[in-house]
Symmetry: C2
DNA sequence: CATTAGCACTCCCTCTCCGAGAGTGCCAAT
DNA sequence: ATTGGCACTCTCGGAGAGGGAGTGCTAATG
């Protein structure tokens, strides 16, 4: 409520203890409980005094007079900022992650979906994994396949085993040999080019192409452009929504519905993960810090994955603000690191 | 409880009224309410008498002595069997479906996902659409694309615009020209063949191939076989799970979690939809009629889609046993019909 | 001056009690 | 066979009471 006072060490310790305890029980925490369970070296009265100050500072609040205290979003924020660095995974979790990633996984999409499952199981919250459609993997193949009734499919394969396809309308008279001819002409143009740039490359080369191929080329370029931009929503893998319904994570059923609904319509997930792609490191959004209206009862922990210098996607965990931040942050980081290594083969 | 008495007309009418009313309110229905709201031409006392008999027959039950009656699964079953034929869609719903299907949709997967969304929005329940990986669409193209580190991707396109890809391990020494050579050799074998049969065709042709291609061919066939059988789970499109959380559809939160969890792990959905593929027509599974343990608090309404003689997939709606069967059955049928027509181009 | 023990106070939670309301089953009359 | 009358049962909601947990304040203490 007042200004953004930096907390002295004792207040910080009290806040840490309070958050830790509240997160496990879900009950408001009183001064007595606090000094009983944690070796704070102070009496309940002193704790009460400090807690009063913490409340003035907006770090904790009482659901009603004469109840224990509950952390506010600001309180969680301080907890995360001051006590979260260097959190280590439990041996069990670490082992589980290591086991998961030593298994070879050949399918790109499969790997991402399973990673989402892992993350959800690990944290007991909903997990998302996102691979942006627009990325810097390199084109390995381009094919044109005629379908029924003047439709043709543009197929692009990247070096990371990702397939993108897009159906375009072409002149009905084009048969497969002609499509092959077009593909042969276009393929050399885009081989080794970044997927993101491929449409542009083709457009630029159109004037140099034989007249009868220009129309097809334009269609293909359009398909590529649309394919890379539009279908991002399909690149979101979401697992563990059922954990949201779990006992008492959210008090309000309406909230649960809102959150599950928002996650389901991938737009919100997409926004969150895209934001985190920009920042270089693990990102923690607590409650109202989320820009998305629907997510303001949640905390979202995300991290990009890839190599040091280049992120190829991001992943994260969504849960109630009352979550075990240390554990989850550690898990997200560890999984992101492993996934990045697995996909890039580096390091 | 007793035997499977065929109900006389009046009992049947009472049951119909009771189900209709209960489905809208969710409250146990009493004899007075029943004769007040429906023109049954009998007095409450008579209704009570009949209701007593219906209860003996196991069609309805009381949550506690001296409360109204609620339909049992058997009651719903009778309702569906006797009162559901020829149910018509509301004009609004019919229009909405028609509007949806006149828009051209080029992407197979997209079309299915959006259909699931439509069905969910239409019924206000969770909706699933399933396209089995093994089907009878015809192969239009086969490509081999080299990826990093001895992996190659087998790409197959079918005439309905479906792309299937599977990564296989090949000899590290194989470069793209050699893969192309292999693809050229294999492609003629499978062109126009049913996807389902393609792996078998290749295996049979292996002895006729040049020695140095036989290994690759076997790998490709294995990849095709695995691709067509294993990844069915990825062909399930699920939308609208958040509607499950809606007020009072299920009384028990634990049930909601169980159901959402089961839907999320596609296995259960897959089982249900595969079952319905076998039966030729719309199928209604009410509560305990579901073979899946997790679904016994739900009703599942599914229908295959495709042409008259050949189903190419199935779709359905999952909700609480307390649902508006007439409306939902009509919606499922209509959507299935339209989707089939759109995908096959037939009427 | 910070810390602490003591204490009165506040508020929630649970339990119980009670009356109203809804619905039933049965019985006797039609 | 149907119906009106009636006593009975059960749930639901509100009121009231007691217990418990936790607070803020004050005065005493090192």
């Amino acid at each position: 409520m007042v200004e953004n006072t930096p907390l002295d060490e004792r207040k910080s310790a009290i806040l840490r203890a309070l958050v830790s305890y509240y997160v496990t029980t879900g009950e408001p925490v009183g001064s007595k409980t606090l000094v009983d369970r944690f070796k704070l070296g102070i009496s309940p009265a002193t704790a009460r005094h400090e807690m009063g100050l913490l409340e003035e500072g907006g770090f904790i609040y009482q659901p009603h007079t004469s109840a224990g205290r509950i952390p506010t979003d600001v309180g969680y924020r301080h907890f995360v900022d001051s006590y979260t660095m260097g959190a280590r995974l439990s041996a069990g979790d670490a082992l589980r992650i290591r086991r998961f990633f030593v298994e070879p996984r050949w399918e790109f999409e499969d790997a991402l979906r399973q990673t989402a499952s892992l993350l959800s199981a690990l944290t007991d919250h909903a997990a998302v994994v996102f691979a942006p459609a627009v990325d810097r993997s390199l084109v390995r193949d381009l094919e044109l396949v005629g379908l029924i009734a003047g439709r043709a499919m543009v197929l692009v394969v990247t070096d990371m085993g990702r397939v993108q396809n897009h159906v375009v309308l072409v002149d009905e008279s084009l048969d497969q040999p002609e499509l092959d001819r077009a593909a042969s002409a276009l393929k050399p143009l885009v081989m080794g080019v970044e997927l993101e740039a491929s449409a542009r490359v083709i457009v630029q080369a159109i004037p140099t192409l034989p007249l009868d191929l220009r129309d097809v080329a334009a269609k293909v370029a359009a398909g590529l452009a649309e394919g890379t931009s539009q279908h991002e929503a399909e690149r979101v893998f979401l697992e563990g929504t059922s954990t949201m319904v779990d006992g008492g994570k959210f008090h309000d059923l309406e909230t649960v519905k809102q959150v599950v609904g928002a996650l389901e319509h991938r737009r919100v997930v997409l926004e969150m993960l895209a934001e985190s792609l920009g920042e270089g490191n693990v990102s923690v959004r607590i409650g109202a810090e989320n820009h998305q209206q629907e997510m303001q009862a949640c905390s979202v922990i995300t991290a990009p994955y890839g190599t040091e210098d280049r992120a190829i996607g991001s992943l994260g965990v969504v849960g109630p603000t009352r979550m075990d931040y240390r554990r989850i942050i550690a898990a997200v980081c560890e999984v992101a690191g492993n996934l990045g290594r697995m996909l890039t083969g580096k390091r």
